[in-house]
Symmetry: C2
C-alpha cells in the first residue's frame, strides 16, 4: 500500500489518516473533500496532498470513503469507471446493506470491502481528528467477495491502528446498529424534542447530570442522520416499534407500582455491555 | 446550628455531612441509618456519632432526611411527636408534593422545609460520598411555611457548600423533574430493556459510546425509583405520554425522510441546557 485516498476529510477520514501515520504508514495520503476540510486535513497532518476524485482514484491503491451514507452511495457510482485493478475501495458508512449493494452493482468484484468503525465524538471535522479514535473500538467489516491481497493488507493496517475487527453480513450489521446506535440516537433526539416543547425557565434550571447524558446524542445535526435512517428504514422502524411496546409495558408497570422487573432487566443489560457483573437478579 | 442528624447515611446524606465539615461546621453530626451505612459514614468522616431516630431528634437542631422517598414519608410521620421547637426538618427526596403534604400533616408549622439537591453519581452509598457533590448543582427548596431563623441558617449552610439554591412550589418541582429527571430515567431503562429482549453475541459487540451514555441511568436499581414514580405518578405518566406522541411524530418523519425539524429542535434544546450557542436554526 503506497498511496491512500481519503474521500471526505471529516472526523473519521482525518482520524484514519492520522492513525495510519501513527502506525507507520509513510506513503502518500490524498484528501478528496471540500476546500475547508482539505485545509483542516493538512493542518492536522492527516493528508499529504489533495486531488479531485478521478485523479485520486487513478493513483491510490486504497480509497477510503468517509462521507455521509448518501454521499458514499454517490461516490461509489462515480468510482465505477475510475477504479484501477488491484485497488481496494472501502467505506466507513454507518449502514451497510445499501452501500454493499451499490458497490456490487457499480464496482468490479473483489474491489470493495464494506466497513463501519463504531467510533466518534461530539465534535465533528478534521480539527477534532484523533490518531487513537479507532483504538479498542469495534470496526465491523462486511466482506462481499473473495479475500484479496489488498483486503488482507487493509486488515493488517486496521489491526495496527488498534481497531477490534469484527465480521458480519451487511444485513446483520444493519439490524444490530438499528438497536445499538440508531434507536439510541432517535430516543435522545425525541427526548430533547419533547422537553423543547415544554421548555421554561424552571425547566432550564432544574435538572441533573442524567439529562446531560441522555441529550448528548441529541446535539447531532440531521445532515448525517437523514441518510442513515433512510438507508436502514425498516430496521429502524422495527426497533422503534419494539421500544414503543416496551414503553407501554413500562407505563402499565408505573400504574401498578411494579417496576422491579423492567428496572432489573435493564440494569442487567446495562451492566453486561460494561462487562460489569450484574448486581441484580432477574425474577 | 450545633447538632445535625442525618437520617439515611447514603451517598447524599454522607456527602451532606462531608460538605458541612468542609464548609467549617464543627458541631456534632449524628448518623441514623443501617449498621453498614453508619460504619461507612464513620469511615469517610461524614458523621461523628450515631443514634436511633428518637434520640437524634431530641438533640439535633437540624434533621436531614436523605432516604428514599417512601422512607422519608415514614420518617416524617414518626418525627411528629419527636421534633423539638426551633428544630428544622428538611429532606433531600426526589419528589416534593407528597413529602410536603406529609410534613404539613404531621410536623408543627414552620419546622419543615422541603429540598431536593439535583446531584448524584453512578455509585451509591457513603463510600462514594463527596464533599463537593452539591457544588454548582441546583438545590431546590419548596418553602411551605414562614421563613424561620433555622431556615435562614440552613440556607446559609447550603450557600457555603456551594449549592445553587432555587425556589419553586412542590407541584412545579414535581412536574419539572418528571420531564428532566424521571422521564430520562424511564427512557434509559426502557431502552436497555428493549435491547435486553433482543440481546445476542453480535449486539454485545457492535455498539459505540452513544449506547453507553444512553444506558448509564439504566444501571439504577428499582429500590430508589419505585417510590419516586409512585409519588409522582400523574406527572410521570403525562411526561411519558408526551414523549410517545413525539415518538409517533418521529416515526412519520423517518417514513417521510424528513428529520430536519425534529433533529434541529432537539439539538437546539440540548445546546441550550449546556449554555452552548445553538449551531442550528429552527425552520
Amino acid at each position: 500500500m503506497q498511496c491512500v485516498a481519503i474521500v471526505g476529510v471529516g472526523l473519521i477520514g482525518a482520524s484514519f489518516g492520522l492513525a495510519l501515520r501513527k502506525a507507520g504508514f509513510t506513503g502518500e495520503i490524498i484528501g478528496v473533500s471540500s476546500a475547508a476540510a482539505i485545509a483542516a486535513g493538512f493542518e492536522c497532518g492527516a493528508i499529504s496532498s489533495q486531488a479531485m476524485l478521478a485523479e485520486a482514484a487513478s493513483r491510490a491503491d486504497l480509497i477510503y470513503l468517509a462521507q455521509p451514507v448518501d454521499r458514499i452511495l454517490e461516490t461509489i457510482e462515480k468510482l465505477g469507471p475510475l477504479v484501477n485493478p488491484g485497488c481496494l475501495v472501502t467505506d466507513a458508512g454507518s449502514t451497510k446493506a445499501q452501500i454493499v449493494a451499490q458497490a456490487l452493482k457499480h464496482l468490479p468484484l473483489g474491489t470493495f470491502l464494506g466497513g463501519h468503525p463504531l467510533a466518534g465524538k461530539e465534535q465533528r471535522g478534521a480539527a477534532a481528528a484523533d490518531a487513537d479514535l479507532f483504538r479498542n473500538r469495534p470496526y465491523v467489516l462486511t466482506p462481499s467477495g473473495p479475500e484479496t491481497p489488498a483486503i488482507r493488507e487493509f486488515r493488517e493496517w486496521l489491526a495496527r491502528i488498534g481497531a477490534n475487527i469484527l465480521e458480519t453480513s451487511p444485513q446483520e450489521h444493519d439490524s444490530t446498529v438499528a438497536l445499538t446506535s440508531h434507536l439510541p440516537q432517535l430516543v435522545s433526539t425525541v427526548l430533547a424534542a419533547t422537553l423543547a416543547e415544554r421548555n421554561s425557565d424552571t425547566l432550564q434550571k432544574i435538572f441533573g447530570p442524567g439529562l446531560m447524558d441522555m441529550t448528548r446524542l441529541a446535539l447531532s445535526t440531521p445532515e448525517l442522520w437523514t441518510s442513515i435512517f433512510s438507508t436502514n428504514k425498516l430496521e429502524v422502524l422495527a426497533a422503534l416499534d419494539a421500544f414503543v411496546v416496551s414503553l407501554g409495558q413500562a407505563r402499565q408497570a408505573i400504574e401498578a407500582d411494579n417496576l422491579s422487573y423492567i428496572f432489573n432487566t435493564a440494569a442487567q443489560f446495562a451492566a453486561s455491555i460494561r462487562n460489569l457483573s450484574p448486581k441484580v437478579k432477574l425474577n
